[in-house]
């Protein structure tokens, strides 16, 4: 992960009351886009992603003083973002009283109608294939495919073993390849 400012410096400034706001601005500038895209790939809709990214950083602000260096800062924020995404999607399914499959169709329709999607047909087909995966499998695939995260880092984010993540990713890729191989 390329870093603009070292996480240690950010955390150090955040502990000081006088430099706390400065530290948080550094953190936002460094991670806000990564967190946003991580959320956006999960919820597809920009407005939903915008709301969730604000919620995520509000929680970061509230809990950063208690952060321990037993994990990396960005994996900690990814963990918060992933949990927020899963919580949001579950609420949305309960609110609309629909199944996981129906939710995947709704997200695909949202993708097709969204003015903020400019991918080609192959990219659109890939996104629709990703939406057929279970939520946690989607998280694994997105973090590996788009963010090139290591399994150890993904393990910190999802709280799952590296072996389980490898198997999950293998199943996800096979399913997506099969979908992409289908004739239109």
């Amino acid at each position: 992960m390329p870093t603009q400012v070292e996480d240690a410096e950010i955390l150090s400034k955040f502990q000081d009351e006088r430099t706390r706001n400065e530290a948080f601005n550094l953190l936002l500038n460094k991670y806000q886009q990564k967190i946003y895209w991580h959320i956006r790939r999960m919820v597809i809709d920009h407005d939903d992603a915008d709301d969730l990214v604000q919620d995520v950083f509000i929680k970061v602000w509230k809990n950063l003083s208690g952060f321990r260096n037993d994990s990396q800062l960005y994996t900690w924020m990814y963990r918060i973002a992933s949990n927020e995404c899963i919580t949001f999607l579950n609420k949305k399914k309960q609110r609309n009283n629909i199944s996981i499959e129906d939710e995947a169709y709704n997200l695909a329709d949202t993708l097709a109608d969204s003015p903020y999607f400019n991918g080609d047909a192959a990219q659109k087909k890939l996104q629709q294939a990703i939406l057929t995966l279970p939520e946690k499998q989607r998280l694994v695939f997105n973090m590996k495919y788009y963010d090139d995260m290591k399994y150890e880092e993904m393990s910190q984010v999802l709280g799952t073993s590296v072996g389980a993540l490898k198997a999950s990713f293998h199943l996800a890729v096979k399913k997506i390849e099969a979908i992409l191989s289908e004739e239109d």
Binding site: Y36, Y116, E177, L180
Partner: protein
């Protein structure tokens, strides 16, 4: 997959996926990330304000939420009543001002549609009074429809019929008493009439007490009168009837009796010297003097010659003035 999954070349095993561009297909509004830091900062401050406000600023009265359900239900009932009143007793603005002309227009239109415009007549002054008539009718309807608290006692109407009949009977009885009339001015003259009657009764009572008749007089009187009249008529029924009142002898006898009565009265008026003496001033004055005083006077002023003189002049007339003066002197002493 024999090789490490984290090898960047893992994608070579998935031909279709490898053909898909890895560029980000999603986009965001222009300048979104330039403002995102400020928006997140603002959201954090807003969240802190919400937390502070919700815990420190606002509060509700005690037991507010316990009573909230009942309060809301009461408010719903009140609002419902108000809505009913508003919808039931309201007319559009200027409704009554325009009603007259509206009705006239409607009448004209109806007449034109019916083709018999001349047949539609209304009483004279109908439209001039129509506005006030309608208002009055609405007011009456409102009073009749409104439950304004004008209630009657329980079973009032059930007992009303019998109550009215009883009242009518009482009124008739009161009117019947009106037949006991008195003449005009009766009570004004009643007092003097009673007093006159009392005087008459006293006179009659006094006559009865003073003018007595012998015992059994009226029993004998009836027989005597019958014997002298009816029975006598029976005996002499066949003889000729003599009219006594028209005879000259009867007239003379009547005149003689009258003179005898007058003469007797005049004679009775002539009093004896004792009677005159009894009514004289001297007798009255002496009667007022106690006997003891007279005795004392005689004991002090009489002697033996006086007794002789008194006896010698017993029949002489008394000088009243001298006697009065003497007695006055005596009493003054």
């Amino acid at each position: 997959m024999a090789r490490d999954i984290e090898n960047k070349e893992w994608l070579n095993d998935y031909e279709k996926l490898k053909q898909v561009s890895k560029t980000n297909p999603f986009k965001v509004p222009d300048g979104y990330f330039n403002e995102l830091t400020e928006r997140i900062t603002a959201a954090i401050k807003l969240d802190e304000m919400k937390s502070n406000i919700s815990t420190k600023v606002f509060s509700v009265p005690e037991n507010y939420f316990e009573n909230l359900t009942a309060n809301i239900q009461s408010r719903i009932v009140v609002e419902g009543i108000l809505d009913i009143e508003n919808t039931g007793l309201a007319v559009p603005e200027n409704y009554f001002d325009e009603l007259n002309s509206n009705i006239k227009s409607r009448v004209v239109i109806e007449g034109a549609l019916a083709g018999s415009k001349g047949d539609l007549k209304v009483p004279e002054g109908y439209f001039e009074e129509l506005n006030s008539n309608i208002k009055s009718r609405i007011a009456v309807e409102d009073l009749l429809n409104a439950d304004t608290g004008l209630t009657v006692p329980e079973n009032y109407f059930n007992e009303l019929s019998s109550n009215i009949r009883a009242r009518i009977a009482v009124d008739e009885l009161m009117k019947a008493d009106a037949g006991l009339n008195v003449p005009e001015g009766y009570f004004e003259s009643l007092s003097s009439s009673i007093q006159s009657r009392i005087v008459v009764e006293e006179v009659i009572a006094g006559t009865v007490n003073t003018l007595t008749v012998p015992e059994g007089y009226f029993n004998r009187l009836n027989k005597d009168i019958l014997n002298k009249t009816v029975n006598k008529e029976i005996v002499k029924r066949k003889s000729a009837v003599i009219r006594m009142l028209s005879s000259n002898a009867f007239k003379y006898v009547t005149a003689a009796c009258f003179l005898a009565i007058v003469g007797t009265g005049a004679f009775m008026q002539l009093e004896s010297p004792e009677a005159v003496h009894d009514r004289s001033f001297l007798h009255k004055e002496l009667a007022n003097i106690p006997v003891s005083d007279i005795q004392n006077y005689l004991e002090q002023n009489l002697d033996g010659t006086d007794t002789q003189h008194t006896m010698a002049t017993e029949n002489l007339p008394v000088n009243a003035d001298e006697l009065k003066a003497a007695l006055q002197d005596y009493t003054d002493q």
